[in-house]
């Protein structure tokens, strides 16, 4: 116990250093494009930390995070464009809406195990996209929504340079990391670990499966929605095809998976590696053909799944994840749905 405490202290010291480094970065980075990539890393990492709560800690593979991302984004945009509220207010409303959806959907579909849950999240995201496309008067339909740039305006969160956005993004990132940390060491975290190991066993020791899973789903939705809201505030443009596609869901999942699930730094590592990689491959290959970055992505995904299922952060540290589950057939053999 004492060991883990000193370790925790060491970690928080490291975190403080990191924060200082991160906050000084924009003074060093003068190149707008690099700053933009840092911002992207931050908000994709936030979305990924969100996924990690349900997909990592709870072990429920969600392929529908794009739905929450879009709800956050559309709420922030609509609040500003339709009701003339600050997009920050919209962002909070979006987080609330996403939480509600996660609560409703979760209490229904989290009863399902294994591939059934995954498929239902996939379908839920499809439904959200079809609805976003159809209700044109609110969402703008396929036309999407644009937040025009009107010059510096604090309440509208419009800034002339990218630096303020960078600090906001980093603050959100810190919140996401803190959340992940809290989940990992809370009662909920231990319950989720038990569920991940063996749902039936967890239930038999008195854990309320649904309550724990739904909580995780709601936290997950909130973080992902927050990332979505920031995305629209920063990029000023959304449409259903680019914000509510399975590609967005896969990207969010992949970042956490590559970096390392159930880890305080895993999703961040994933984003730091994958976002610039997308940019590099796009920059060098897009002139030849689009799609090159996704080829690289998918090969990384396959390699990680086969050889480093716990993510690169654990390859770097050369040790298994806390409470990692070895991937072995459950007690009922191959046909049981309760798998890692």
């Amino acid at each position: 116990m004492a060991d883990s405490q000193t370790e925790a202290r060491k970690r928080s010291g490291l975190a403080v250093l990191l924060i200082m480094l991160v906050s000084l970065l924009p003074l060093v980075v003068q190149h707008g494009y690099v700053l933009r990539i840092l911002i992207m890393i931050s908000y994709f990492a936030v979305a990924s930390y969100g996924w990690d709560v349900i997909g990592g800690y709870a072990g429920q593979l969600s392929l529908g995070q794009a739905a929450f991302f879009s709800i956050g984004a559309y709420a922030a945009a609509s609040a500003y464009l339709i009701w003339k509220l600050s997009p920050a207010v919209g962002a909070l409303a979006g987080v609330g809406l996403a939480a509600l959806l996660a609560l409703g959907l979760g209490s229904l579909v989290l009863r399902l195990r294994g591939p059934y849950f995954t498929l239902s999240t996939l379908a839920a995201a499809e439904v959200v996209r079809i609805l976003l496309l159809h209700f044109k008067s609110i969402t703008g339909g396929a036309e999407g929504r644009v937040i025009p740039y009107t010059g510096f305006n604090l309440s509208a969160l419009q800034f002339a340079t990218d630096r303020p956005y960078y600090y906001i993004a980093v603050a959100l990132l810190a919140l996401a990391i803190w959340t992940s940390y809290q989940v990992s060491r809370s009662r909920l975290g231990f319950q989720l670990a038990a569920i991940r190991n063996d749902e039936d066993a967890a239930e038999s020791v008195g854990i309320n499966l649904m309550s724990a899973k739904v909580k995780a789903f709601v936290i997950s939705a909130c973080l992902t929605a927050l990332a979505g809201a920031f995305y629209v505030i920063y990029d000023r443009y959304i449409d259903p095809y680019s914000t509510c596609s399975s590609e967005v869901s896969v990207k969010i999942l992949l970042i956490a998976l590559v970096g390392g699930r159930r880890s305080i730094w895993g999703p961040l590592l994933g984003a730091v590696l994958l976002i610039p990689l997308t940019e590099l491959t796009n920059a060098y290959f897009a002139s030849i053909r689009a799609g090159a970055s996704m080829v690289v992505y998918s090969i990384i995904l396959i390699i990680v799944v086969l050889y480093a299922p716990d993510g690169l952060i654990r390859v770097l540290r050369r040790r298994p994840s806390r409470g990692a589950v070895t991937l072995q057939p459950g007690p009922k053999g191959r046909n049981s749905h309760a798998s890692a």
Partner: protein
């Protein structure tokens, strides 16, 4: 009335392709207990292969039906042997992630190789149709439905009237006792995966004369296949066939009477409802009969 008949006809005809893809998916699940997230991408690859062959040789896409079927069977068999097999005992999550990775890989490779454009094969009968009693029956769609029927019958014959087919059914019902009876499970996995993606590729071939060929085309058919398979009960072949026709009709009726761009809403909502209330499937087919 003719409007209604029109919608029904459209729904049933496209249902044939849905059935091919979905039966492949359900067969793989039945034998291997693996959810193949790349099923739609095999259809896409089948489409591109056919299109390339047809464009090079300047002949009808259907000429290559058998060739593509055999090639994809071999492809599937090898893919199972060397890649999918590694995850066979590692749980659904690993399998989903691996096939998801394959799906993204195939899609993006197609994008790199063939580009993102929507392509279509030059076939003389692309826009030909029979106009009977106010109902338009598209000729290439009718043809694709015919292919689906023939392939389904052949599959039924294989599974019920051949030694190998019966062995496969046995190992789907119970792997352990099948192994005790001297059936090699690894061979069964390879065969099931090979046949499963062969069916998707055949569906792809039959789509080429009337559909667009583009890297993302598999996403739509793959998702529909999931809906169909869940509707029919995972692993249930007859259920998948009935589910496919049902989904085709639901989709066509929504398009005709509600709105064209909502045609999939009904399908997905039905999907979630079925998952919630009857995850074992809406239709209880006789499984493997």
């Amino acid at each position: 009335m003719s409007t209604f008949l029109q919608a029904m006809t459209n729904g049933v005809l496209i249902g044939g392709v849905y059935a091919l893809v979905a039966v492949g998916l359900t067969l793989i699940f039945g034998v291997m207990n693996t959810v193949n997230f790349a099923q739609g991408e095999f259809l896409m690859l089948g489409m591109f292969t056919t299109l390339m062959l047809a464009e090079t040789a300047r002949v009808d896409p259907y000429v290559f039906l058998v060739l593509v079927a055999v090639a994809f069977f071999v492809f599937g068999f090898l893919l199972e042997k060397y890649l999918i097999h590694r995850t066979i005992d590692r749980g659904h999550e690993t399998q989903i992630l691996l096939t998801l990775g394959l799906s993204v890989l195939f899609k993006s490779l197609a994008l790199v190789i063939w580009g993102p454009n929507f392509r279509s094969a030059v076939v003389s009968y692309r826009l030909k149709s029979l106009y009977v009693g106010g109902v338009l029956i598209s000729y290439p769609r009718l043809l694709s439905f015919g292919v689906a029927v023939v392939v389904m019958l052949a599959l039924w014959f294989f599974l019920n009237r051949t030694e190998l087919g019966r062995a496969m059914r046995a190992s789907a019902v119970n792997r352990k006792s099948a192994a005790l009876m001297g059936i090699n499970p690894d061979l069964m996995y390879g065969l099931a995966f090979g046949i499963g993606i062969m069916l998707a590729a055949v569906g792809g071939v039959s789509l080429v004369p009337f559909y667009y060929v583009f890297p993302d085309v598999g996403a739509f058919f793959g998702t529909i296949a999931f809906v169909v398979v869940v509707l029919g009960g995972l692993g249930d072949i007859l259920g998948a066939v009935v589910g496919a026709l049902l989904i085709g009709v639901v989709e066509a009726l929504t398009a005709q009477y509600v709105a064209l761009d909502l045609s999939h809403l009904g399908v997905f909502l039905a999907f979630i409802l079925v998952l919630l209330f009857r995850p074992q499937g809406l239709i209880r087919g006789k499984g493997w009969a």
